[in-house]
Amino acid sequence: MAEIAVRTASVLHNKHIAPNVFRLEVEGSFRAKPGQFYMLRSWRHDPLLFRPMSVFDRTEESLSFLCATRGRGTDLLSRLSAGDGLTLLGPLGNGWERIDERIALIGGGTGIAPLYYTAKYFAAKDRSAAIDIYLGFRGRPFLQEEFAQVAQRVYRSSESGEGGEEGLITEIFNPSGYDTCYACGPPAMLAALSKVCQGAGIPLFVSLEERIACGIGACLGCAVRTRKGMKRVCKDGPVFRAEEVFFDG
């Protein structure tokens, strides 16, 4: 397990890639595993907290995040430009472990963020791995070329019908033929996937999102009730076995 640390890094690029979506890349060698996240901040006391962001990509020289502008914190992050400083706390959380060969990665909205590095990492570790990626967008799909480079097949859907099959990604996805499925996205999507995977008897791992304060497991601000008791999304998660999670809250 890589040691958790607070680091300051310099922004290499900050690219606007879709309405309210940006890709923030910082310089440096970081040791994150797929599915782990960092807490980011580029301000002092206001907003008060870091913003948790899962790792979109990692190379020997850089680390990048795919973020959606939602409030003041992400708005400030979206305005960073090359050379600006960013404080990172991490790597945090458990991440996902690869256990089988035929893998489906399913993402909805900015829940697609952790899938790129996951696919890249799994494929690099085991060349026989067959990885399919399912991406659900609300509007026009993005990062198609990038995802195509790390997966065998990329399926996409768009709620608006722009540039993809119209509808929800859960309508396209079929778990049969996969050994393990991994998903990140809105609770309704995860709930639907959980149902279909459970029905098919295929293991599903889900990455949950919560408001996070400390990020290291101390404050219990991100705890969720699971079949195994209260669990901290930041420390025990963010990845959980789907059957442990209560999707209805």
Binding site: L48, C214, L220
Partner: protein
């Protein structure tokens, strides 16, 4: 040579910086960043007689320079704490301050009695948690506060600190002192509210939540200033302290020590940096002890 330590009742702390309850777990997580034993002490997550699951999410919500929380005292209960967490805390070399909450004086007594037989160094009676459904904040009422402290005092020889809500009046602090409290910790979070304007409903399941962070610092400071003038026992200041300068301000208002809570979320190293900053301040000002500046902001004080 400057003496950085402070005395509270019969207990000496190596410095006046204490990690606040609820913000520091049982110290283990922050010990990955620095040697937590460098702090004057660590307050545990609020403990109860029996385990508690706490409140459903969301449990935290940001406000300008502030944080609303509604954790709801999720904890393993005093027995599991003593069995599973306390040995590790003692192993780490911490001065352990066990924060305790209960629904009534009798239950406070039960939990405190159990803890008094353990290796904890101090018991901090929390009569100010704003986050328990259906429960009033006992510490706001002098008579009720006194009853809880009387009960705990009769069952416990260890130092007893009492954590008061920001709404506590001077009479509550004095009542607690009269019942044998060794120190007063002020303040717990301010009761706050946030509403989701999309749904028109409160953000938190328990409607209200506790506000902490730099947003409450001047409010907390004036409470500490007033209480320090009203009681003889030490006052431990809490509320939005994020820097050594803030800590000095509380000491000048009359606090013996301070607790660091939300600042740990802004920077995991915050508490240690405050310890270092205070040490530098003492050297720069050539102070021999904290007594030289404690309470200096009060009218008629020397300096």
């Amino acid at each position: 040579m400057a003496d950085r330590s402070i005395r509270i009742g019969g207990l000496t702390l190596k410095n006046p910086i204490i990690a606040a309850s609820g913000c520091f777990g049982f110290g283990e997580e922050y010990n990955e960043f620095y040697d937590v034993a460098r702090l004057g002490g660590v307050c545990t997550k609020g403990l109860t007689r029996r385990p508690r699951e706490g409140n459903p999410p969301p449990r935290v919500f940001e406000t300008p320079c502030g944080l609303l929380n509604s954790i709801g005292l999720q904890n393993p209960g005093v027995d599991a704490f003593i069995r599973e967490e306390l040995p590790m805390m003692k192993e780490m070399g911490l001065v352990v301050i066990a924060n305790v909450w209960a629904e009534c004086a009798e239950e406070y007594g039960e939990a405190v009695e159990i803890l008094s037989r353990s290796a904890v160094d101090v018991i901090e009676i929390n009569i100010s948690c704003p986050n328990v459904p259906g429960q009033v904040i006992v510490g706001a009422q002098a008579q009720q506060a006194a009853e809880v402290v009387r009960r705990c005092r009769s069952l416990c020889d260890k130092p007893l600190w009492v954590k008061l809500p920001p709404t506590a009046q001077i009479d509550a602090a004095q009542a607690v002192e009269e019942q044998g409290a060794d120190a007063i910790c002020a303040v717990n979070t301010f009761r706050g509210l946030a509403i989701d304007i999309e749904t028109g409903r409160p953000i938190f399941a328990n409607t209200f939540a506790g506000l902490s962070g730099p947003a409450i610092r001047p409010l907390a400071l004036q409470v500490v200033y007033q209480l320090a003038a009203a009681v003889e026992i030490p006052v431990i200041g809490i509320g939005g302290i994020t820097s050594w300068q803030d800590a000095v301000e509380f000491i000048m208002a009359g606090a013996h020590a301070v607790q660091i809570g939300t600042a740990n979320f802004i920077d995991p190293l915050a508490s240690m940096k405050i310890v270092e900053g205070l040490q530098q301040f003492m050297e720069d000002r050539r102070l021999h002890s904290w007594e030289e500046i404690r309470g200096c902001a009060h009218e008629g004080s020397p300096l």
